[in-house]
Symmetry: C2
Subunit: 243 residues, 2 copies
């Protein structure tokens, strides 16, 4: 039996014998770019039914049909971790979304802070990056990329019980440990500030929040995309699915 090398995210339900029609883009990728044909194996996931081994039943230029044959991996959702970040230059924003999906964020929330330049984001493009990262990293879950929203509005309607870890450049060299009454399985969020950091008003507001935990990420000032990976590593190691 040939080994499947391609993983595809699809939106259809997956189960034994389930057929999955391909749209034009998917068909182009699978048959045109990746040179797959009838009978070839592909791994599929849809974010809820785990990973399935499927084979190509029909291959065409404008579409095709896959048939799911056996489950190869159970559905595995990441911990209930949100990643909040202030969008920056295009390439680094793309990287943050990719990294968030790889590192196991459940939801990605771009936020506008006082020092954020970005007025808007391409939500559909960022969502496509999250899907691609999930296809690549072997996960069975794709984090949702939310619309850009103002940080203060998000904080004002903050859900009860969700903890917030924020990385404060002004603490550089301070402790990077999460401490104090931290229950596993509780909902969390990580907030990464923009290049240039938080404004004084934001820092004061954040430090005063009863659900907020300020940490440092070492003695050097990290770029936002580096900080996102480092902060998620600390969290996953202490409270998430890396333990």
């Amino acid at each position: 039996m040939k080994t499947a090398k391609i993983r595809l995210y699809v939106e259809q339900p997956l189960g034994q014998g389930q057929t999955v029609p391909l749209d034009r883009d998917q068909a182009h990728y699978l048959f045109g770019v990746m040179r797959q044909g009838a009978g070839d194996p592909v791994l599929l996931f849809n974010g809820t039914d785990g990973e399935w081994r499927a084979t190509v039943a029909e291959a065409g230029k404008r579409g095709g049909l896959l048939r799911a044959e056996e489950q190869t991996r159970e559905q595995r959702d990441p911990p209930d971790l949100w990643l909040l970040f202030a969008p920056i230059k295009k390439a680094r924003t793309d990287f943050i979304v990719e990294k968030a999906a790889e590192m196991g964020a459940a939801r990605i929330l771009p936020v506008q802070t006082d020092f954020t330049n970005s007025e808007r984001i391409r939500q559909d493009r960022l969502q496509a990056h999250a899907i691609e990262a999930a296809e690549q990293c072997g996960g069975t879950f794709v984090p949702e990329v939310c619309a850009l929203q103002k940080l203060d509005r998000l904080i004002a309607g903050w859900p009860a019980g969700r903890q917030l870890m924020f990385c404060d450049e002004a603490l550089a060299g301070g402790s990077s440990a999460l401490t104090g009454g931290l229950a596993k399985g509780a909902p969390w969020a990580i907030l990464i500030g923009p290049e240039g950091g938080f404004s004084e008003a934001e820092r004061t507001r954040l430090h005063a929040l009863p659900f907020a935990h300020a940490i440092a990420l070492g003695p050097r000032i990290l770029r936002a995309d580096t900080a996102a990976v480092a902060a998620m590593t600390l969290w996953q190691q202490a409270l998430g699915d890396w333990a």
Copy 2:
């Protein structure tokens, strides 16, 4: 007194009253791109004398002169941590070098593994990325980027007393904790495999090394640049300068 917003790495010694001549590229950047002029402040570091506040003494199209006035930060070297990685696609290789400098690696060693495609690297370009990252992150140290070498040859001449942490994709979901007799201040190296992982022969050889520590980086397969940041975070938190 104007606040210096620009940090420059220079190769000259730095000290009270020391003058620093600028070459054509530095002059172009400082006076052409960044619009600085006589009397403007610049922060300088050279990797050994800490960070100094200097002012522009002469500004020209083809050169210029800075004068160091006061030390603004003491020299701070990173822990004795090497980052070994298998070069991948250009953009991601650049990112790994940038991340290694930000995260505080003392030396960056590109290595050829069984599954590495790269036959050569642009050592000078990668070194320039490391310098730029050091300028950006506020550090006073620039890690050296070594020439590409074969992993097995490097391992064959491995320095006595240096520990090696390697990230084994085959352990995905296993422990990400460094354990067992780990002294702070000891020399270490982190090895990040190429996309596609290590070969079976390499894995066997690595696991058998008495100075090697295999760890997992969570249940998902991380890209090499993500893995580099995550692994350095774990190490810095456990044994480095983040504690």
